[in-house]
């Protein structure tokens, strides 16, 4: 992945760089083509499901899965980039989603604005929230060289702070955004709520935009470069503090959007985002931690797997299915299903 000229970087980093470059070479383990293996396994799984339950049921649950998966994917991209670039496992990310959902509630219900305005307001405010804590907390802590445990527990403290400040302000009563949750759309014999369909469409448009931006824009390339190897990226002349700032804006805005979409489909309550955090972690790890494209794919895939599981497991267990997937992936392929073995 690193496309930095070794010559310029070597002067800056001397010894460690040689080691780093050596390590950066893809080490291929069990499968030389993890993507193909993954696609093959998934295709087989779908084929078995279709044979057992019929095309209609698989498609119907798959549609629900896409709606759920786009929320996971939007949450996962930000979480994985923050991890990749800052090496921060942000347990407060789920509560960023809650914050976004309640900001949309403020604009959409309290102030009576249209939902679109609510969504934009949520994205802006959550992005600013991300930057705020980068400025007052994460940045200073990085400069002091804080350790893993410190950062982990701080992110948990921040999660509490956000979640219970929301509970303080809005209480625990269940609230809804101003959406018609009863209207349904029917096509090809499938039924889907209008809100869910909107979530899928908005989710996919944004996810494609995010993918293109990461793939082709300079900022996107810089983010991926930093996520891949911070020191190398720095040595190559990337303004890391600027990219870090944009990463928080980006992660915050997407988390805010994910929160609004999740809140539109279900309801708003202070635990909304924390309940989504572990599935989002699962999506991140499925896709390979730090890998933004992997997180997109991991989120959608997880949503599909969770909904498909309701075909053969009681739907009450579907949250637990997400956790089981998380643990299985950690045990079997901690580098993610599309990832190649790295330092795990």
């Amino acid at each position: 992945m690193p496309t930095v000229e070794a010559g310029t970087a070597r002067d800056a980093l001397r010894e460690p760089l040689v080691e780093r470059l050596r390590r950066a070479e893809p080490v291929r383990l069990a499968s030389s083509y993890p993507e193909r293996t993954a696609v093959l396994v998934i295709a087989l799984f779908v084929a078995i499901l279709v044979a057992r339950y019929g095309v209609h049921d698989v498609a119907q649950t798959g549609l629900n899965g896409l709606s759920e998966g786009s929320v996971y994917a939007l949450g996962a991209v930000g979480l994985t980039l923050v991890y990749g670039i800052l090496k921060l496992v942000n347990f407060a990310h789920g509560d960023f989603l809650t914050f976004g959902a309640f900001m949309a509630y403020l604009a959409n219900v309290t102030w009576g604005g249209p939902l679109v305005v609510g969504i934009l307001f949520a994205m802006v405010m959550t992005a600013l929230l991300g930057v705020l804590f980068e400025r007052i907390m994460w940045g200073p802590m990085r400069e002091r060289g804080a350790g893993l445990l410190q950062l982990l527990l701080m992110s948990i403290g921040l999660a509490f702070l956000i979640r219970y400040s929301i509970q303080y302000a809005w209480g625990t009563e269940v609230r809804s955004l101003d959406v018609n949750s009863f209207a349904t759309v029917q096509f090809l014999g499938l039924r889907i709520g209008r809100t869910e369909l909107t979530v899928i469409i908005v989710g996919f448009v944004v996810l494609v935009a995010v993918g293109l931006m990461l793939r082709y824009s300079l900022l996107g390339k810089q983010m991926r470069a930093l996520s891949d190897n911070l020191e190398l990226a720095e040595a190559a002349g990337i303004d890391t503090s600027r990219v870090v700032l944009y990463t928080w804006l980006f992660a915050g805005a997407l988390a805010g959007l994910a929160g609004v979409l999740a809140g539109a489909v279900t309801d708003l309550e202070p635990e909304l985002g924390f309940g989504l955090l572990l599935p989002i972690f699962a999506a991140v790890i499925l896709g390979g931690i730090g890998d933004a494209f992997g997180a997109l794919a991991g989120g959608i895939l997880l949503g599909l797997v969770i909904e498909w599981s309701t075909l053969f497991i009681d739907f009450r267990w579907k949250t637990a299915v997400g956790f089981v997937v998380l643990i299985l992936v950690l045990i079997v392929r901690p580098q993610g299903i599309f990832g190649r073995a790295r330092t795990i």
Partner: protein, 339 residues
């Protein structure tokens, strides 16, 4: 958490800051039991995080497995309370090994995520396997209401109450016997862990915390030591689970949210890392503050009051990690959980 969201004894009257509760024995009994229970939980975390260097976020799961196993063995299987407790401890230790065996090979942050996921699986199972656990109704007695999990404990409690009366306390606090037993356990656990830490076994744990590769190079099976550390922490978590169940007189999934484990971490880092005595100190301070906020008649609703307590937990974690990561009594040089 039912215990935390319970309605305060006094209704919220605008700004009548009464500190009467501070001298009430019932207040301190309540604080003491919670502090003792969380000390047991946090002692396990101290063993894992402070002395072995493994970040276990699944302690709430250990409490849940312990409490449910004990209650099910007593009520459903019909074992005696005294047999059910050690068996439940063993079951929880086995659960700890089951979690640790595949996931201890992972990097610290992955391990943290794996353990919290495992604890959540336990909680969802407790919620959904209604036939076994009573689901969201909680678990207390059998359907005929003839056997309850704390029957034996109540008679023990009555006996202790009798001693207290004969010692001259005419009307002892109802939960005071539980307070005594919790802190007896805490005392034994602290002393045992303190001395275990000075044995060669304890030194290997510290060596693993400092540099696992070096410990391995010396021929130590580091995975086995880490598993032992996790299993002991599971046993302590099971004890904490018993006391939580006896205190609340029910076993309910909502009492084993990840939140419980994180309050345990707040207790741990408040007292300080790499020190067993400090855990008790941190727990008493934390629970005095948390329970105290319920009795200060702040001009806010009960719901806001409950939220305020967790804002305090969050701020405690953030400020301690920012300004005194080793905690009040911790040793900075033993705070090695870096990269």
């Amino acid at each position: 958490m039912s215990v935390l969201l319970a309605i305060p004894a006094h209704p919220a009257i605008p700004f009548a800051l009464s500190l009467d509760f501070f001298t009430a024995i019932s207040f301190w009994t309540g604080v003491g039991i919670l502090a003792g229970t969380y000390t047991l939980l946090a002692l396990g975390l101290q063993l894992n995080v402070g002395f072995t260097g493994i970040v276990n976020f699944g302690a709430a799961g250990f409490m849940a497995v312990g409490a449910y196993a004990m209650a099910i063995l007593v009520v459903t299987v019909g074992l005696s309370f005294w047999l059910a407790m050690p068996l439940a401890v063993l079951i929880t230790m086995a659960f700890g090994l089951l979690i640790g065996l595949p996931s201890l090979r992972l990097r610290a942050d992955y391990f943290a995520i794996a353990t919290i996921a495992a604890a959540e699986i336990v909680r969802y199972t407790a919620q959904n396997a209604r036939g076994l656990t009573g689901g969201n109704q909680g678990f207390f007695c059998n359907t005929a209401q003839t056997v309850c999990f704390d029957d034996t404990w109540r008679s023990v409690s009555d006996t202790i109450e009798g001693w207290l009366k004969s010692a001259g306390w005419s009307n002892p606090e109802a939960l005071f016997p539980l307070l005594l037993v919790v802190w007896l356990c805490v005392g034994l656990a602290v002393v045992a862990l303190h001395f275990a830490q000075r044995t060669p076994w304890g030194r290997v744990l510290r060596a693993i915390r400092e540099d696992e590769d070096a410990a391995r190079a010396l021929g130590k099976n580091t995975l086995a030591y880490k598993l032992q550390s996790l299993a002991l922490s599971a046993a302590l978590g099971a004890l904490a689970g018993f006391f939580l169940a006896l205190d609340l007189a029910t076993v309910h999934p909502v009492d084993f949210q990840p939140l419980v484990c994180f309050i345990g971490y707040a207790v741990l880092v408040l007292g300080g890392l790499a020190n067993y005595w400090s855990v008790a100190f941190g727990s008493i301070i934390m629970w005095t503050i948390l329970e105290g906020t319920r009795f200060l008649n702040l001009p806010i609703t009960d719901e806001q009051n409950a939220a305020l307590r967790f804002i305090i937990v969050g701020l405690t974690l953030i400020l301690l990690m920012a300004f005194r990561p080793q905690g009040v009594f911790g040793k900075k040089e033993e705070m090695v959980l870096g990269e």
